[in-house]
Amino acid sequence: MSFYINGIGAVSPQKSFAEALSSKPAVHYGNQLHCQEPDYTAFIDARQLRRLSRIVKLSIAASSQAVQDAAPAIIDGVIVGTGWGCIEDTVTFLEKMVENQEEALSPTAFIHSTHNTIAAQVAFQLKCKGYNTTYSHRSISFESALLDAALLLAETPAQTLLVGGVDELTNTSFSILSRFDLFKQPQELGSDSLFSLGTAGTVAGEGSVFFAVSGVRTEHSYCQVAAVQTLSFGSTDDAVEAARKMLQRHGLPAVDLLLLGNNGDSKEDKHYDSFETNFTQQGQTLKFKHLCGEYPTASAFGLGLGATLLKQNLSLGSVPQSVLFYNCSPQSHQALVLLRAC
Protein backbone atom coordinates (compact mmCIF):
# COMPACT_ATOMS: atom_id res chain seq x y z
CA MET A 1 0.00 0.00 0.00
CA SER A 2 3.02 2.28 -0.32
CA PHE A 3 3.18 5.28 -2.61
CA TYR A 4 5.36 8.31 -3.30
CA ILE A 5 5.13 12.00 -2.48
CA ASN A 6 6.21 13.67 -5.71
CA GLY A 7 5.28 17.28 -4.96
CA ILE A 8 4.35 19.46 -1.99
CA GLY A 9 2.68 22.85 -1.74
CA ALA A 10 1.86 24.71 1.44
CA VAL A 11 0.47 27.93 2.82
CA SER A 12 1.18 27.93 6.54
CA PRO A 13 2.39 30.11 9.41
CA GLN A 14 5.88 29.40 8.03
CA LYS A 15 7.08 30.85 4.73
CA SER A 16 8.29 27.41 3.62
CA PHE A 17 9.23 24.00 5.00
CA ALA A 18 12.87 24.91 4.41
CA GLU A 19 12.40 27.94 6.69
CA ALA A 20 10.52 25.81 9.23
CA LEU A 21 13.46 23.39 9.33
CA SER A 22 16.07 26.14 9.50
CA SER A 23 17.63 27.42 12.68
CA LYS A 24 15.36 30.49 12.47
CA PRO A 25 11.75 29.49 11.79
CA ALA A 26 9.07 32.20 11.94
CA VAL A 27 8.07 32.89 15.55
CA HIS A 28 4.49 33.97 16.29
CA TYR A 29 3.44 35.82 19.44
CA GLY A 30 0.15 35.37 21.27
CA ASN A 31 -1.97 32.23 21.07
CA GLN A 32 -2.87 32.24 17.36
CA LEU A 33 -0.64 31.27 14.44
CA HIS A 34 -2.00 32.61 11.15
CA CYS A 35 -0.78 31.72 7.67
CA GLN A 36 1.73 33.80 5.77
CA GLU A 37 -0.47 34.26 2.72
CA PRO A 38 0.96 34.64 -0.79
CA ASP A 39 -0.12 37.05 -3.52
CA TYR A 40 -3.07 35.02 -4.77
CA THR A 41 -3.04 36.67 -8.20
CA ALA A 42 -0.02 34.47 -8.95
CA PHE A 43 -2.35 31.44 -8.75
CA ILE A 44 -5.89 32.67 -9.42
CA ASP A 45 -7.42 34.90 -12.09
CA ALA A 46 -8.17 38.32 -10.53
CA ARG A 47 -11.80 38.16 -11.72
CA GLN A 48 -12.32 34.84 -9.90
CA LEU A 49 -10.61 35.97 -6.71
CA ARG A 50 -13.47 38.21 -5.61
CA ARG A 51 -15.86 35.33 -5.01
CA LEU A 52 -13.48 32.82 -3.44
CA SER A 53 -13.38 32.46 0.32
CA ARG A 54 -10.09 32.58 2.18
CA ILE A 55 -9.84 28.82 2.77
CA VAL A 56 -10.42 28.14 -0.92
CA LYS A 57 -7.70 30.65 -1.83
CA LEU A 58 -5.31 28.99 0.66
CA SER A 59 -6.12 25.62 -0.93
CA ILE A 60 -5.77 26.70 -4.55
CA ALA A 61 -2.41 28.34 -3.81
CA ALA A 62 -1.06 25.25 -2.00
CA SER A 63 -2.42 22.76 -4.55
CA SER A 64 -1.02 24.81 -7.45
CA GLN A 65 2.41 24.78 -5.78
CA ALA A 66 2.21 20.99 -5.33
CA VAL A 67 1.34 20.53 -9.01
CA GLN A 68 4.18 22.83 -10.09
CA ASP A 69 6.55 20.93 -7.80
CA ALA A 70 5.61 17.48 -9.08
CA ALA A 71 5.06 18.54 -12.69
CA PRO A 72 2.76 15.60 -13.52
CA ALA A 73 1.24 15.22 -16.97
CA ILE A 74 -2.23 15.23 -15.47
CA ILE A 75 -3.95 15.27 -12.07
CA ASP A 76 -6.27 12.25 -11.83
CA GLY A 77 -8.11 13.13 -8.65
CA VAL A 78 -8.39 15.48 -5.69
CA ILE A 79 -8.87 14.27 -2.11
CA VAL A 80 -9.15 16.77 0.74
CA GLY A 81 -9.23 16.30 4.48
CA THR A 82 -10.66 19.12 6.56
CA GLY A 83 -11.88 19.12 10.12
CA TRP A 84 -13.72 22.43 10.15
CA GLY A 85 -14.43 22.93 6.43
CA CYS A 86 -15.24 26.40 5.13
CA ILE A 87 -16.00 27.72 8.58
CA GLU A 88 -15.82 31.44 7.72
CA ASP A 89 -18.59 31.18 5.11
CA THR A 90 -20.56 28.73 7.24
CA VAL A 91 -20.67 31.34 9.99
CA THR A 92 -21.53 34.10 7.49
CA PHE A 93 -24.38 32.01 6.12
CA LEU A 94 -25.74 31.15 9.57
CA GLU A 95 -25.52 34.78 10.71
CA LYS A 96 -27.47 35.89 7.63
CA MET A 97 -30.09 33.22 8.32
CA VAL A 98 -30.65 34.73 11.75
CA GLU A 99 -30.42 38.39 10.65
CA ASN A 100 -32.72 37.94 7.64
CA GLN A 101 -35.09 35.54 9.38
CA GLU A 102 -34.23 32.75 6.96
CA GLU A 103 -35.02 34.84 3.87
CA ALA A 104 -32.88 36.57 1.23
CA LEU A 105 -29.79 34.44 1.84
CA SER A 106 -26.56 35.00 -0.09
CA PRO A 107 -25.98 32.18 -2.62
CA THR A 108 -22.19 32.73 -2.55
CA ALA A 109 -21.94 32.17 1.21
CA PHE A 110 -24.16 29.08 0.86
CA ILE A 111 -22.04 27.60 -1.92
CA HIS A 112 -18.90 28.15 0.15
CA SER A 113 -20.39 26.90 3.40
CA THR A 114 -20.02 23.22 2.53
CA HIS A 115 -16.91 21.19 3.34
CA ASN A 116 -16.52 19.75 -0.17
CA THR A 117 -16.29 23.22 -1.75
CA ILE A 118 -12.52 23.10 -1.20
CA ALA A 119 -11.86 19.95 -3.23
CA ALA A 120 -14.37 21.08 -5.86
CA GLN A 121 -12.77 24.50 -6.35
CA VAL A 122 -9.26 23.02 -6.45
CA ALA A 123 -10.38 20.55 -9.14
CA PHE A 124 -12.20 23.32 -11.02
CA GLN A 125 -9.07 25.47 -10.98
CA LEU A 126 -6.89 22.57 -12.19
CA LYS A 127 -9.53 21.45 -14.73
CA CYS A 128 -9.53 18.01 -13.09
CA LYS A 129 -12.73 16.10 -13.84
CA GLY A 130 -11.61 12.91 -12.07
CA TYR A 131 -12.16 11.51 -8.57
CA ASN A 132 -13.13 14.18 -6.04
CA THR A 133 -13.74 13.45 -2.39
CA THR A 134 -13.65 15.23 0.96
CA TYR A 135 -13.04 13.64 4.35
CA SER A 136 -14.09 15.36 7.56
CA HIS A 137 -13.15 13.18 10.51
CA ARG A 138 -11.85 15.46 13.27
CA SER A 139 -8.10 15.01 13.86
CA ILE A 140 -7.76 12.18 11.32
CA SER A 141 -9.44 13.99 8.42
CA PHE A 142 -6.15 14.30 6.54
CA GLU A 143 -5.06 10.73 7.32
CA SER A 144 -8.45 9.49 6.05
CA ALA A 145 -7.79 11.30 2.77
CA LEU A 146 -4.30 9.77 2.68
CA LEU A 147 -5.73 6.26 3.20
CA ASP A 148 -8.18 6.79 0.35
CA ALA A 149 -5.28 7.85 -1.89
CA ALA A 150 -3.33 4.75 -0.83
CA LEU A 151 -6.23 2.47 -1.82
CA LEU A 152 -6.71 4.20 -5.18
CA LEU A 153 -2.99 4.02 -5.93
CA ALA A 154 -2.90 0.34 -4.97
CA GLU A 155 -5.50 -0.25 -7.68
CA THR A 156 -3.90 2.04 -10.27
CA PRO A 157 -0.33 3.05 -9.39
CA ALA A 158 0.32 5.05 -12.55
CA GLN A 159 -1.75 8.06 -11.65
CA THR A 160 -1.21 11.26 -9.72
CA LEU A 161 -3.59 12.35 -6.99
CA LEU A 162 -3.66 15.57 -5.02
CA VAL A 163 -4.17 14.98 -1.32
CA GLY A 164 -4.59 17.95 0.99
CA GLY A 165 -5.11 18.82 4.63
CA VAL A 166 -6.79 22.20 5.10
CA ASP A 167 -8.27 24.19 7.97
CA GLU A 168 -8.64 27.90 8.61
CA LEU A 169 -8.56 29.85 11.87
CA THR A 170 -11.23 32.55 12.18
CA ASN A 171 -12.22 34.91 14.97
CA THR A 172 -15.44 32.95 15.46
CA SER A 173 -13.80 29.52 15.54
CA PHE A 174 -11.16 30.77 17.97
CA SER A 175 -13.81 32.37 20.18
CA ILE A 176 -15.94 29.20 20.27
CA LEU A 177 -13.00 26.84 20.86
CA SER A 178 -11.66 29.14 23.60
CA ARG A 179 -14.79 28.36 25.63
CA PHE A 180 -13.43 24.80 26.03
CA ASP A 181 -10.17 26.17 27.49
CA LEU A 182 -8.24 24.69 24.57
CA PHE A 183 -5.76 27.54 24.25
CA LYS A 184 -3.11 29.12 26.42
CA GLN A 185 -3.58 32.68 27.57
CA PRO A 186 -2.01 35.22 25.21
CA GLN A 187 1.41 35.99 26.57
CA GLU A 188 4.56 37.71 25.46
CA LEU A 189 6.43 34.46 24.93
CA GLY A 190 6.84 33.36 21.34
CA SER A 191 5.60 30.15 19.76
CA ASP A 192 9.17 28.81 19.94
CA SER A 193 8.72 28.42 23.71
CA LEU A 194 5.52 26.34 23.36
CA PHE A 195 7.04 23.15 24.73
CA SER A 196 8.80 24.74 27.68
CA LEU A 197 5.79 26.40 29.31
CA GLY A 198 4.39 23.23 30.90
CA THR A 199 0.92 24.74 31.20
CA ALA A 200 -2.50 23.62 30.03
CA GLY A 201 -3.76 24.64 26.59
CA THR A 202 -2.10 24.99 23.20
CA VAL A 203 -1.87 27.63 20.46
CA ALA A 204 -4.40 27.78 17.64
CA GLY A 205 -3.16 27.32 14.11
CA GLU A 206 -4.20 26.92 10.51
CA GLY A 207 -2.78 25.83 7.21
CA SER A 208 -3.21 24.29 3.80
CA VAL A 209 -0.78 21.58 2.71
CA PHE A 210 -1.20 19.59 -0.51
CA PHE A 211 0.74 16.57 -1.74
CA ALA A 212 0.96 15.26 -5.29
CA VAL A 213 1.16 11.52 -4.73
CA SER A 214 1.61 8.59 -7.08
CA GLY A 215 2.36 4.89 -7.05
CA VAL A 216 5.25 5.67 -9.39
CA ARG A 217 8.49 7.19 -8.19
CA THR A 218 9.82 10.14 -10.21
CA GLU A 219 12.90 12.34 -10.18
CA HIS A 220 10.82 14.78 -8.08
CA SER A 221 9.96 12.25 -5.37
CA TYR A 222 10.42 13.39 -1.79
CA CYS A 223 9.95 10.05 -0.08
CA GLN A 224 7.90 6.91 0.06
CA VAL A 225 4.82 6.78 2.27
CA ALA A 226 5.32 3.20 3.44
CA ALA A 227 2.29 2.93 5.73
CA VAL A 228 -0.66 4.91 7.08
CA GLN A 229 -2.78 3.75 9.99
CA THR A 230 -5.48 5.35 12.11
CA LEU A 231 -6.78 4.17 15.47
CA SER A 232 -10.04 5.35 16.97
CA PHE A 233 -10.75 5.38 20.69
CA GLY A 234 -7.66 3.33 21.52
CA SER A 235 -5.02 3.93 24.18
CA THR A 236 -1.47 5.17 23.72
CA ASP A 237 -0.33 1.57 24.33
CA ASP A 238 -2.48 0.52 21.37
CA ALA A 239 -0.67 3.08 19.20
CA VAL A 240 2.73 1.87 20.44
CA GLU A 241 1.78 -1.72 19.58
CA ALA A 242 0.50 -0.67 16.15
CA ALA A 243 3.71 1.29 15.49
CA ARG A 244 5.89 -1.69 16.48
CA LYS A 245 3.95 -3.97 14.13
CA MET A 246 4.20 -1.36 11.37
CA LEU A 247 7.99 -1.21 11.72
CA GLN A 248 8.20 -5.02 11.83
CA ARG A 249 6.13 -5.34 8.65
CA HIS A 250 8.62 -3.09 6.89
CA GLY A 251 11.68 -4.83 8.27
CA LEU A 252 12.75 -1.83 10.32
CA PRO A 253 14.31 -2.61 13.71
CA ALA A 254 14.30 1.14 14.41
CA VAL A 255 13.45 4.52 12.87
CA ASP A 256 15.88 7.39 12.43
CA LEU A 257 13.42 10.10 13.38
CA LEU A 258 10.29 10.27 15.48
CA LEU A 259 7.99 13.11 14.34
CA LEU A 260 5.50 13.92 17.08
CA GLY A 261 2.39 16.10 17.20
CA ASN A 262 2.93 17.46 20.73
CA ASN A 263 1.00 20.71 21.08
CA GLY A 264 2.41 22.09 24.34
CA ASP A 265 -0.71 21.26 26.35
CA SER A 266 0.51 19.63 29.56
CA LYS A 267 -2.67 17.53 29.69
CA GLU A 268 -2.19 16.12 26.18
CA ASP A 269 1.57 15.96 25.81
CA LYS A 270 1.81 13.19 28.40
CA HIS A 271 0.34 10.84 25.75
CA TYR A 272 3.14 11.77 23.36
CA ASP A 273 5.73 11.42 26.14
CA SER A 274 4.41 7.94 26.84
CA PHE A 275 4.58 7.03 23.14
CA GLU A 276 8.07 8.53 22.77
CA THR A 277 9.43 6.59 25.74
CA ASN A 278 8.95 3.38 23.76
CA PHE A 279 11.05 4.58 20.84
CA THR A 280 13.62 6.98 22.30
CA GLN A 281 16.47 4.51 22.00
CA GLN A 282 15.89 4.43 18.26
CA GLY A 283 16.64 7.90 16.97
CA GLN A 284 15.97 11.59 17.28
CA THR A 285 12.66 13.30 17.99
CA LEU A 286 11.19 16.31 16.22
CA LYS A 287 8.06 18.24 17.21
CA PHE A 288 6.30 20.61 14.82
CA LYS A 289 3.20 22.28 16.27
CA HIS A 290 5.18 25.29 17.54
CA LEU A 291 5.61 26.01 13.80
CA CYS A 292 2.00 25.67 12.66
CA GLY A 293 -0.22 25.65 15.77
CA GLU A 294 -2.90 23.09 16.59
CA TYR A 295 -5.75 22.41 14.17
CA PRO A 296 -7.53 19.25 12.95
CA THR A 297 -5.31 18.75 9.90
CA ALA A 298 -2.01 19.95 11.40
CA SER A 299 -0.67 16.46 10.66
CA ALA A 300 -0.49 17.46 6.96
CA PHE A 301 2.00 20.16 7.95
CA GLY A 302 3.94 17.59 9.99
CA LEU A 303 4.01 15.18 7.09
CA GLY A 304 5.22 17.94 4.74
CA LEU A 305 8.00 18.67 7.19
CA GLY A 306 9.02 15.01 7.41
CA ALA A 307 8.97 14.55 3.63
CA THR A 308 11.04 17.71 3.08
CA LEU A 309 13.53 16.50 5.67
CA LEU A 310 13.93 13.17 3.88
CA LYS A 311 14.37 14.80 0.47
CA GLN A 312 16.60 17.70 1.35
CA ASN A 313 18.66 15.88 3.95
CA LEU A 314 18.20 18.84 6.29
CA SER A 315 18.98 16.45 9.05
CA LEU A 316 19.38 17.05 12.73
CA GLY A 317 22.97 15.90 12.75
CA SER A 318 22.56 12.78 10.66
CA VAL A 319 20.71 11.85 7.48
CA PRO A 320 17.39 10.16 8.34
CA GLN A 321 16.24 7.30 6.15
CA SER A 322 12.99 6.62 7.95
CA VAL A 323 10.49 8.79 9.83
CA LEU A 324 7.71 7.57 12.09
CA PHE A 325 4.97 10.17 12.44
CA TYR A 326 2.55 10.04 15.36
CA ASN A 327 -0.34 12.43 16.02
CA CYS A 328 -3.15 12.01 18.50
CA SER A 329 -6.26 13.62 19.83
CA PRO A 330 -6.64 12.12 23.31
CA GLN A 331 -9.82 10.14 23.93
CA SER A 332 -10.61 10.00 20.21
CA HIS A 333 -8.22 9.42 17.31
CA GLN A 334 -4.57 8.55 16.74
CA ALA A 335 -2.61 8.36 13.50
CA LEU A 336 0.66 6.75 12.43
CA VAL A 337 2.50 7.34 9.17
CA LEU A 338 5.78 5.73 8.16
CA LEU A 339 7.94 7.64 5.68
CA ARG A 340 11.05 6.22 4.04
CA ALA A 341 13.73 7.84 1.94
CA CYS A 342 13.69 6.87 -1.72
Binding site: A46, R47, L49, R50, R51, N100, E103, A104, L105, S106, P107, T108, I111
Partner: protein, 84 residues
Amino acid sequence: MDALKAELKSLLVEHLNLTTVKPEEIGDDQPIFGDGLGLDSIDALEVIVLLQQHYGIRLTKAENGPKVLYSVNTIADYITEHRK
Protein backbone atom coordinates in the same frame (compact mmCIF):
# COMPACT_ATOMS: atom_id res chain seq x y z
CA MET B 1 -33.09 59.21 -8.83
CA ASP B 2 -29.37 60.08 -9.06
CA ALA B 3 -28.97 59.34 -5.34
CA LEU B 4 -30.63 55.94 -5.85
CA LYS B 5 -28.31 55.10 -8.77
CA ALA B 6 -25.23 56.12 -6.76
CA GLU B 7 -26.43 53.98 -3.85
CA LEU B 8 -27.04 51.02 -6.19
CA LYS B 9 -23.53 51.27 -7.62
CA SER B 10 -22.03 51.28 -4.13
CA LEU B 11 -24.16 48.30 -3.11
CA LEU B 12 -23.14 46.35 -6.23
CA VAL B 13 -19.45 46.96 -5.57
CA GLU B 14 -19.81 46.04 -1.88
CA HIS B 15 -22.09 42.99 -2.18
CA LEU B 16 -20.39 41.47 -5.21
CA ASN B 17 -16.90 42.25 -3.87
CA LEU B 18 -15.90 44.05 -7.09
CA THR B 19 -12.45 44.91 -5.79
CA THR B 20 -11.16 46.30 -9.10
CA VAL B 21 -14.14 48.58 -9.79
CA LYS B 22 -15.10 51.89 -8.14
CA PRO B 23 -18.81 52.74 -7.90
CA GLU B 24 -18.35 55.93 -9.93
CA GLU B 25 -16.77 53.92 -12.76
CA ILE B 26 -20.03 52.05 -13.41
CA GLY B 27 -22.03 53.75 -16.15
CA ASP B 28 -25.79 54.23 -15.71
CA ASP B 29 -26.51 52.48 -19.02
CA GLN B 30 -23.60 50.03 -18.91
CA PRO B 31 -24.72 46.36 -19.09
CA ILE B 32 -23.78 44.79 -15.76
CA PHE B 33 -23.74 41.19 -17.01
CA GLY B 34 -21.72 39.57 -19.79
CA ASP B 35 -19.28 41.95 -21.44
CA GLY B 36 -20.26 44.92 -19.28
CA LEU B 37 -19.22 44.45 -15.67
CA GLY B 38 -18.59 40.78 -16.33
CA LEU B 39 -21.10 39.50 -13.77
CA ASP B 40 -22.55 35.98 -14.02
CA SER B 41 -25.60 33.95 -12.96
CA ILE B 42 -24.54 33.68 -9.28
CA ASP B 43 -24.16 37.46 -9.22
CA ALA B 44 -27.70 37.72 -10.61
CA LEU B 45 -28.92 35.80 -7.55
CA GLU B 46 -26.89 38.10 -5.30
CA VAL B 47 -28.46 41.19 -6.95
CA ILE B 48 -31.96 39.73 -6.45
CA VAL B 49 -31.15 39.13 -2.76
CA LEU B 50 -29.76 42.68 -2.55
CA LEU B 51 -33.00 44.15 -3.95
CA GLN B 52 -35.02 42.18 -1.43
CA GLN B 53 -32.81 43.09 1.52
CA HIS B 54 -32.38 46.79 0.84
CA TYR B 55 -35.56 47.79 -0.96
CA GLY B 56 -38.04 45.08 0.04
CA ILE B 57 -38.57 44.25 -3.64
CA ARG B 58 -39.06 40.71 -4.92
CA LEU B 59 -38.40 39.93 -8.56
CA THR B 60 -41.29 37.51 -8.90
CA LYS B 61 -41.19 36.76 -12.62
CA ALA B 62 -37.94 35.13 -13.72
CA GLU B 63 -38.56 36.10 -17.36
CA ASN B 64 -38.31 39.77 -16.35
CA GLY B 65 -34.81 39.24 -14.92
CA PRO B 66 -32.70 40.02 -17.99
CA LYS B 67 -34.67 43.21 -18.68
CA VAL B 68 -34.75 44.48 -15.07
CA LEU B 69 -31.15 43.58 -14.24
CA TYR B 70 -29.70 44.93 -17.51
CA SER B 71 -28.12 48.10 -16.11
CA VAL B 72 -28.15 50.45 -13.12
CA ASN B 73 -30.77 52.54 -14.95
CA THR B 74 -33.16 49.61 -15.43
CA ILE B 75 -32.75 48.41 -11.83
CA ALA B 76 -33.34 51.96 -10.52
CA ASP B 77 -36.50 52.27 -12.67
CA TYR B 78 -37.80 48.95 -11.33
CA ILE B 79 -37.12 49.97 -7.72
CA THR B 80 -38.85 53.34 -8.20
CA GLU B 81 -41.85 51.66 -9.79
CA HIS B 82 -42.25 48.90 -7.19
CA ARG B 83 -41.04 50.46 -3.95
CA LYS B 84 -43.85 50.72 -1.42
